[in-house]
């Protein structure tokens, strides 16, 4: 848009689509307007009931939306907002603050490769590149998040995941694996896409204490 004096008023596409004041982002949507699936509504309501203040359930509610739709879609946010009686803007603001909640589409599977200090010292950059190659996405883009060529895997460099003992490591569909070698990347992506158990021998869940090794 140029910085010249506007001729008349700017035409906002949203206004063109006929958003009268009350159709704007302003209102807390009413449930009947948003078509919220019952299970989602029940889950959010159950979450709200756990806290002295219903707003505390905003992160759990957004998790529920993300699990259902793959990411925090505008429709999903409106559904959660209607159940929680808050504005959609409020929930979007919350969602966008947190790294694990996505306000734009991501793949079915998520691979977060830690590139923070300890992992970096043990080859995290190379591991991320190996994942990028395996998934067929641009390694530079992958630092901040990129979709695999087939759109199924979302790969992203990540800050310290709290597993420096298994550096370099990755969180794959929310479970930790490490220490990983470059060769593990291709295998992991294959297994993910094929719906198999991923790198079972490298799962953090199965490790013993370092001092007992």
């Amino acid at each position: 848009m140029s910085d010249l004096p506007p001729q008349g008023l700017p035409v906002d596409p949203a206004v063109d689509r006929g958003r009268a004041p009350e159709r704007s982002a302003q209102e807390i949507p009413e449930l009947h307007e948003v078509g919220c699936p019952d299970e989602l509504r029940e889950e959010i309501e159950e979450r709200m009931s756990r806290y002295p203040d219903r707003k505390s359930a905003s992160i759990p509610a957004l998790w529920a939306v993300q699990r259902r739709y793959g990411w925090c879609t505008p429709e999903g946010i409106r559904q959660a907002a209607a159940v929680m009686r808050v504005t959609p803007a409020y929930l979007e603001s919350v969602a966008s603050f947190y790294d694990l909640l996505h306000t734009s589409p991501v793949g079915e599977h998520q691979v977060h490769v830690c590139t923070n200090i300890s992992c970096w010292m043990r080859g995290a950059d190379e591991l991320l590149e190996a994942f990028a190659e395996a998934a067929g996405c641009d390694p530079h883009e992958a630092r901040h998040g990129a979709l695999s060529a087939d759109g199924k895997v979302f790969l992203s460099g990540f800050e310290c995941l709290g597993a420096c003992d298994i550096a370099p490591m990755a969180s794959i569909d929310e479970r930790y694996f490490g220490p990983l070698e470059e060769g593990d990347a291709a295998r992991a992506v294959e297994q993910l896409v094929a719906g198999q158990d991923v790198l079972p021998e490298k799962a953090l869940a199965k490790r013993g204490l370092a001092g007992d090794a």
Partner: protein, 441 residues
């Protein structure tokens, strides 16, 4: 030198995770003692006497903090800080994954001391496995009557909710944690008022780290005197230390506070990788000013010794760098972390972390001059003490220390990188494309 396992005792037993396994090792006896035989004030006194210091970073005396909560029957809260997101720290993960009931028992006892009726475990969103484990354990504890209404007939109630975060280091800062738990963006609040007076939902709130609370059943079970038998006068007890980076056996080791740092790094963690030489380390997570090997290896690993050396014990996480590690690059990684995690609320942290990253990127690209290093140092000075919370300082202190202690290496890096600008591959290896950093979609 062996470990001194108190919190990690029996941790190798996979059944410890279940309530039966935990009780098989004597678990929940302290809770029964605290609820059946002790008045809240007695529990509080035991905790105060133990001298237990917070294991989350600041090292504040836990019992003292609990005593700051006002008496009376207003709604009070307890929050367990399980956000553990500081680079280098992974001890809380281990404690929750292997021994969730120890934490739950600690929370229930601390809640009795503080008069809290509602407790929350704020666990970082990435710890999915551990959150599931906690959820199961909490359900078991409710079932057994250790949580819920009228615990063991004491007329005390305690609700405990496991609250998963969603990925933001700042939520580990205690007031940001409160905002996040209230369902907001995790921005730190102004202090005062302190959470002990006005915290969650405006009520008095006790906030403690996972490891701090995991110590509580042992103190109440065996007494403050027993606890003080470990560690030093000012740093009593044992500490689960996360050691990582360029060592042979990275991992969590539980030791008495005050043992020589060298034993942790060189014995327990196996020392430097073959053919490498220790260069420097962060003694207490990425927020602690780095110590060179000479400065730090022979210091006792205690709160007071680290503070005296101009650094801090922090969360008790050691990250080791050897001679293969470029300090300017390490400074850049550190700065990038804080830049990425700055909540953006206050100016010096938001802009200072951004500016520092940009300058350090120029340093490693060879596009800086030694004068820029002065600016880097000065910007760190301008951040320290001027921010709303200490996240800004947490970058400025280690980065400032690195520039100060390794000035030569910074200057050498600039010179080398500017000489090799012609080799695009090398640059690509160390730098992100400038447009990918700090600019908006």
């Amino acid at each position: 030198m062996p470990e001194t396992r108190v919190l990690l005792e029996h941790a190798e037993d996979p059944k410890l995770r279940t309530i039966d396994g935990y009780r098989g090792h004597g678990g929940y006896a302290s809770l029964e003692k605290a609820y059946r035989q002790m008045e809240p004030d007695e529990v509080l006194k035991e905790l105060e006497d133990s001298g237990l210091r917070g294991r989350g970073g600041a090292g504040f005396a836990m019992g003292k903090k609990a005593s700051f909560l006002p008496r009376g029957d207003m709604a009070k809260y307890l929050c367990c800080n399980a956000d553990e997101s500081e680079p280098g720290a992974f001890k809380d993960r281990e404690l929750m994954q292997r021994n969730p009931h120890q934490l739950i028992e600690g929370i229930a006892i601390a809640a009795r001391a503080a008069g809290a009726g509602h407790a929350f475990i704020f666990i970082r969103g990435e710890y999915d496995l551990q959150a599931d484990i906690l959820d199961e354990a909490v359900a078991e504890a409710y079932e057994a009557g250790f949580l819920g209404a009228n615990i063991l007939g004491s007329h005390c109630d305690l609700e405990l909710v496991v609250h998963r975060g969603a990925g933001a280091y700042i939520c580990g800062e205690e007031t940001a944690l409160l905002d996040a738990l209230e369902g907001k963006r995790g921005n730190p609040r102004l202090k005062p008022p302190f959470p002990a007076v006005q915290g969650l939902y405006g009520g008095p709130t006790l906030i403690n780290n996972v490891e701090t609370l995991s110590n509580v059943p042992h103190i109440v079970g065996k007494g403050a005197e027993w606890f003080r038998g470990f560690g030093t006068e000012q740093s009593p007890g044992t500490k689960v230390v996360s050691v990582s980076g360029r060592v042979k056996r990275p991992g969590n080791y539980e030791v008495e506070l005050g043992i020589p740092t060298r034993e942790l790094i060189c014995d327990l963690a196996g020392g430097p990788l073959n053919g490498c030489e220790l260069k420097a380390f962060y003694p207490g997570g990425s927020s602690s000013p780095v110590l060179t090997a000479e400065e730090g290896l022979d210091l006792p690993y205690s709160f007071e010794a680290m503070a005296e050396a101009g650094s801090m014990l922090g969360s008790g996480s050691i990250i080791v760098a050897d001679h293969t590690v470029s300090i300017p690059h390490m400074a850049l990684r550190t700065a990038r972390f804080y830049h990425h995690e700055s909540c953006g609320k206050c100016t010096p942290c938001r802009e200072g972390t951004n500016w520092t990253v940009k300058m350090l990127e120029r340093v490693v690209r060879g596009e800086a001059t030694p004068m820029d290093l002065d600016i880097v140092a000065s910007v760190q000075e301008n951040i320290i003490g001027n921010c709303l919370c200490v996240l800004g300082d947490s970058m400025a202190m280690p980065v400032g220390a690195m520039v100060r202690k390794f000035r030569d290496e910074f200057e050498r890096t600039i010179a080398e990188a500017s000489g090799s600008l012609a080799e695009p591959e090398r640059i690509a290896a160390v730098q992100a494309p400038p447009e990918a950093i700090g600019t908006m979609p």
